[in-house]
């Protein structure tokens, strides 16, 4: 292979790869994915107690539930700028349907607030109470992932 051919190939590869790299560091996408990770971390605390993987600890359960409630109440308007859906950029599983007419994401977001309020109200009151209140939280998570996230 000649040197010129290698140079051309390298230049072409760079031209393709660079925009993709630039897209991967979209701050809004990073922030919303970080938000989801914070939710998952705190869900893990109560979820593992509910599954019996860890002992029920009312103080830790309450702390995790309070975090979930607070996270669900954050105004997410800056997380979701137009043009950051899975059809427009790499590195996101957010479906265009989030931004389309008839999108239910705000309603589901309100469901999550109500569900985490319910969890935070009882998380320290015993394992059964906490477990019962966790179901609606999972339901709200799933409701959004059902229609608005690319499956993998």
């Amino acid at each position: 292979m000649s040197l010129s051919r290698i140079l051309i190939a390298t230049a072409l590869t760079g031209a393709v790869a660079l925009p993709a790299l630039a897209q991967e560091s979209n701050p809004a996408v990073n922030a919303r994915q970080g938000h989801m990770q914070v939710l998952a971390l705190n869900l893990g605390v109560v979820g593992n107690m509910a599954r019996g993987n860890t002992d029920y600890d009312p103080e830790a359960a309450q702390a995790a539930a309070d975090n979930l409630l607070m996270m669900s109440q954050i105004n997410q308007r800056f997380y979701w700028p137009e043009g950051t859906d899975s059809e427009s950029i790499e590195g996101t599983r957010a479906l265009p349907a989030i931004w389309e007419e008839g999108s239910q994401v705000m309603e589901i977001s309100a469901e999550l607030v109500a569900a985490t309020e319910g969890l935070a109200a009882v998380a320290g009151d015993g394992l059964d109470a906490m477990r019962g209140a966790l179901g609606p939280v999972g339901g709200a998570c799933g409701a959004c992932h059902d229609d608005y996230r690319v499956s993998n």
């Binding site: 989801m36 998952a40 971390l41 869900l43 893990g44 979820g47 509910a50 599954r51 993987n53 899975s86 599983r93 479906l95 966790l134 179901g135 999972g138 339901g139 998570c141 799933g142 409701a143 959004c144 992932h145 059902d146 229609d147 996230r149 690319v150 499956s151 993998n152």
Partner: protein, 296 residues
């Protein structure tokens, strides 16, 4: 020349006749089911395991609404868009007048009471493997369900797939005569295999399909493109999934992955069904998945 035409004609007739004879579908007759009586309470467990509501209840139905099998959900595929029909107890728009044997032929053989073929978007190829008692119980449970008078919507399927008789050849090629996973299985793994392969029809989404839409059983549960056109359906083989039995069983109950990400897509509805099963059955499905061959 005339003679050649006659010979050609005979070959065509024999060929078609032979083809139709060869591909004769399995059909139940009344006598086949003599003495079989369903138990509605047992049928409810079959109903959830078989996932009827995930497709036949209204989109996003929750709670009691999952028992109203009004139809209407759309299922895109390479062959067109299929729409789940109303299978509620309504005598006109649903299946309220069906006899037990009609129900059996629909569910296990893909044949409607008027003798026409259903499309395999309806997973009768999986239900074909189910125990007769379970289908009888399911029929009994269906009798207890409410009626919906919403008319079924037509499928949006173009020629040549619009020829239902072609399903006869498709069934001949694709109707399983036994389980896909064979070999030495524990009792728990066998129970899981029954639930996963015969009732819950996991393979319909998690197994890739060939050019004619048949399941590629050599890559059983190895993951597949999402028929909606976006994303993929995960590979469930143990090396790919990497979850423990307890993690799989818990996911099927509460919908959280081991990292506490929440399930999405059609799986949220499947988990709604799986959560209605016993813990032993969820553990059995998990044991079966861990017994899957990893493949190459």
């Amino acid at each position: 020349m005339k003679r050649a035409l006659i010979v050609f004609g005979l070959v065509v007739i024999v060929g078609l006749g032979g083809g139709l004879w060869l591909t004769q579908p399995d059909i139940y007759f009344e006598d086949d089911l003599a003495g079989l009586t369903g138990d509605a309470e047992a049928g409810e467990a079959v109903f959830w395991a078989a996932g009827c509501a995930s497709c036949h209840a209204a989109e996003d139905a929750e709670g009691e609404a999952r028992l109203l099998l009004t139809g209407g959900q759309a299922f895109p595929s390479d062959f067109g868009t299929f729409r789940a029909p109303n299978i509620s107890q309504d005598p006109i728009h649903g299946i309220g007048t069906w006899t037990q044997v009609e129900f059996f032929n629909a569910v296990q053989n893909g044949i409607s009471p008027d003798g026409s073929h259903y499309y395999p978007a309806f997973p009768y190829t999986a239900y074909h493997l189910a125990e007769r008692q379970d289908i009888a119980d399911l029929y009994a449970f269906f009798q207890t369900l409410p009626a919906s008078d919403v008319p079924s919507e037509p499928h949006d399927v173009g020629f040549p797939y619009s020829i239902r008789l072609a399903m006869r050849g498709w069934n001949f090629l694709n109707m399983p005569d036994g389980y896909t996973v064979s070999g030495d299985l524990t009792e728990e793994e066998e129970r899981g295999r029954y639930l996963a392969e015969a009732l819950a029809h996991c393979g319909e989404c998690h197994t890739p399909r060939d050019g004619l839409g048949g399941l590629d059983r050599s890559r059983w549960l190895a993951g597949a493109p999402n028929p909606s056109g976006r994303g993929t359906i995960p590979d469930l083989r143990p090396d790919a999934l990497g979850w423990s039995q307890g993690e799989i069983a818990a996911y099927l109950n509460d919908g959280f992955t081991p990292d506490f990400d929440a399930a999405g897509g059609h799986m949220t509805s499947v988990i709604g069904n799986m959560a209605e099963l016993t813990e032993a059955d969820r553990n059995a499905i998990a044991a079966y998945l861990l017994a899957l061959p990893n493949g190459s």
